[in-house]
């Protein structure tokens, strides 16, 4: 049996977060939408930008907003030669800690510059606003170095169109992360076998339970599983549910049956679809068998089995479910 060393697959994980802002963050983001920057006065009189809700030293709730300038001074910085795909700028750029005029605490944002040599601690920068501010931190598109000859404060930034005067109270902040998922040794062996149309579980060396799909351990005993056990494609319904509501992004149209199935010779169930049946007649103990895709379509995937369908064998008593031999059920 030829088995690839590593089975991997890229996937995107999305968190479609929306967040309520509260009054302090909301005031700051509302300011950004209007192309103004507000800080907040801390207990010791310092002005913090972006504003914090509570004083980090005294824990006092803060509420005195202070508008600050749109130019500032770089207090520290680094140079990103090779921007990452997620970064806000895709040409080499700097991250910087920028102390805006009128603020006492630096904020972190990006600085667009043609070359690393143009940057320095102490350099003056100014906000470059996004074309269409929406009440989000990226309304500050980036900072740019102040051109001393031509630029007066704020001159490069026309006022935002005042088409919305309601305060920002909520933001959409979706997060999409990209991974390359790698199957473990035991799952990879299982997937390589199912690509050949073979259902292969693993037996615990201590309690002798057979797991399919295997994960490489017996969770009950806490020992590694190695011995491979080839199983037939007949199973027993251990439990089931009839799904009546559509599930987003699921191509299967309701109503459909999802069942916990235990293969003959296995001791632990897995989940798969049940079809070619009267939904109302599905029951615990029912005997079923896999309906496979055409062999040409087999891949490293459990959906080589399209679904299970009922077969004409006597029901298995509840006490016997998960205890059948590999040879099956005689009734």
């Amino acid at each position: 049996m030829a088995q690839p060393d590593v089975l991997s697959q890229p996937f995107e994980l999305g968190f479609t977060y929306t967040r309520s802002t509260g009054p302090v963050v909301g005031r700051f983001l509302t300011g950004l939408r209007d192309r103004r920057i507000f800080g907040i006065r801390a207990s010791d009189g310092r002005v913090i930008v972006p504003p914090m809700e509570y004083d980090p030293n005294t824990a006092a709730a803060l509420d005195e907003f202070v508008e600050v300038g749109q130019q500032g001074t770089i207090r520290s910085w680094c140079w990103v030669k090779r921007p990452r795909a997620a970064h806000p700028l895709q040409q080499p750029f700097a991250w910087a800690m920028i102390q805006l005029d009128g603020a006492d605490v630096p904020m972190i944002h990006c600085v667009a510059a043609a070359a690393e040599e143009e940057l320095a601690t102490g350099a003056r920068v100014q906000v470059k606003w996004a074309d269409e501010p929406r009440g989000f931190i990226t309304d500050i598109r980036c900072f740019e170095l102040v051109d001393r000859k031509t630029t007066a404060e704020g001159a490069t930034n026309p006022a935002a169109p005042a088409n919305d005067d309601s305060p920002v109270t909520r933001i959409d902040a979706p997060v999409y992360l990209h991974y390359n998922f790698t199957a473990g040794r035991a799952p990879a062996r299982f997937l390589a076998r199912i690509k050949e149309g073979v259902l292969s579980g693993q037996r615990c060396p201590r309690c002798a339970n057979v797991y399919i799909p295997p994960r490489g351990s017996c969770p009950a005993c806490g020992v590694a599983t190695e011995e491979e056990v080839v199983l037939p494609d007949k199973a027993t319904v251990q439990s089931f549910t009839i799904v009546a509501i559509p599930i987003p992004n699921n191509p299967i149209k309701p109503p459909f049956v999802i069942a916990n199935l235990v293969l003959d010779g296995a001791n632990i169930s897995f989940i798969h679809l049940l079809s070619e049946c009267e939904n109302s007649e599905v029951h615990i103990g029912q005997r079923v068998q896999a309906v496979w895709k055409p062999q040409a379509e087999w891949g490293y995937a459990m959906d080589n089995i399209r679904y299970f369908r009922p077969i004409d064998e006597p029901d298995v008593p509840v006490a016997m479910i998960g205890k059948l031999p590999v040879t099956g059920w005689e009734g």
Partner: protein
């Protein structure tokens, strides 16, 4: 108050990519190793289990629950988890024993960070309104910290390179190291910058893997008849999430934790410090007031390989091994979490 002992420790090799190994397959060999060191069967033989991991790193929701498959949790066990480095799982376990609810505990940490783009994943632990949407990565934040250190004259690029040179030389004796060898300061400084002012060599190599530890009361350790090290103090402190409000050239929280843990009540022969960037070791040594009498990171530290979510626990393990073998009598272990050394834990370990 019950005195606590470390009786077993094991860690995996530091691998840039663990390849075909899932969470359970990464954890099980380390659990087996610590059970064997004490002569235990499985997690049923300890009173409490606590793990440290972060599902975001491998992008698998409830990956830490999959890890429980390695334990032998039938019948049910007392189990807990921290979404942090397992050094904090050790802390929780110590509290559990001190409260009298357990006499022994198994602690493990694991990660398969190679599945994702770690610096970008870590950006999502930052402020969700002001920083996470910018995707500011942890290397860039550390680089801005390093520049402050350099420009205030508190470190030099040469001193940073010396940290790396010493770490890689120490790592020659560490069988689990991912990066070791004899390299010169000049060679390191000749390389181009990565995220200036940091060079790639200033950044600890990130590793997949796992580490495990067993702790218990000193009475239990004597009953088991195994060599042990006592944890005579442990404390952790956290600083504000607002990086602009911190003095990034110092580590106040590390100093406070060390004071509370009683570091200064005796000599510090060895300090294992979790410094994922070379300049951070300089910050930590200064914050702790460590001098020539202390060997810093004899294992190579995380410059030899940074096992995400297990490196802090591994620092404790490295000091434990040296005490249990009789090599030293007293040392400290440090763990960190968050950007630019935001959150720090210090433990004092002493011989029986």
């Amino acid at each position: 108050m019950k005195e606590i002992a470390i009786v077993a420790f094991s860690q995996s090799d530091c691998l840039a990519r663990a390849g075909a190994a899932n969470e359970v397959e990464l954890i099980m060999p380390q659990l087996r190793a610590v059970f064997d060191q004490v002569g235990l069967n499985n997690a049923q033989d300890v009173d409490f289990v606590c793990s440290g991991s972060c599902d975001y790193l491998q992008g698998a929701a409830f990956a830490f629950v999959a890890g429980v498959d390695a334990l032998g949790a039938v019948p049910p066990i007392k189990e807990s988890h921290v979404e942090m480095d397992a050094a904090w799982a050790l802390y929780e376990s110590i509290l559990k024993i001190r409260m009298g609810q357990a006499e022994s505990a198994l602690i493990y940490g694991f990660a398969k960070a190679s599945s994702g783009e770690l610096p970008i994943v870590l950006s999502q632990q930052l402020d969700p309104y002001y920083l996470a949407p910018l995707w500011v990565d942890n290397v860039s934040l550390a680089a801005m910290q390093a520049r402050q250190l350099l420009e205030r004259g508190l470190a030099s690029e040469r001193a940073m390179a010396e940290v790396v040179v010493r770490a890689r030389r120490h790592a020659l004796a560490n069988p689990h190291a991912q990066l070791s060898g004899d390299v010169s300061v000049e060679e390191l400084l000749a390389a181009e910058t990565f995220v200036a002012p940091l060079r790639e060599s200033d950044c600890a190599p990130v590793a997949d893997g796992a580490a495990a530890m067993i702790i218990c009361t000193v009475e239990k350790a004597r009953a088991w008849g195994v060599p042990y090290a006592r944890i005579t103090g442990i404390d952790h402190r956290i600083e504000t999430h607002n990086l602009g409000m911190r003095d990034l050239t110092d580590s106040v929280s590390t100093r406070q934790a060390a004071e509370a843990a009683g570091m200064k009540r005796g000599p510090v022969q060895v300090a294992e410090l979790y410094a994922p960037f070379s300049h951070q070791e300089i910050i930590l040594c200064r914050a702790l007031g460590l001098g020539d009498e202390t060997v810093i990171n004899p294992s190579g530290g995380v410059m030899a390989g940074n096992l995400m979510m297990a490196s802090g626990l591994a620092r404790m393990g490295e000091v434990f091994r040296r005490i249990a073998s009789g090599e030293i009598g007293r040392g400290i272990a440090h763990a960190t979490s968050g950007p630019c050394l935001q959150h720090n834990l210090v433990a004092v370990l002493e011989s029986a």
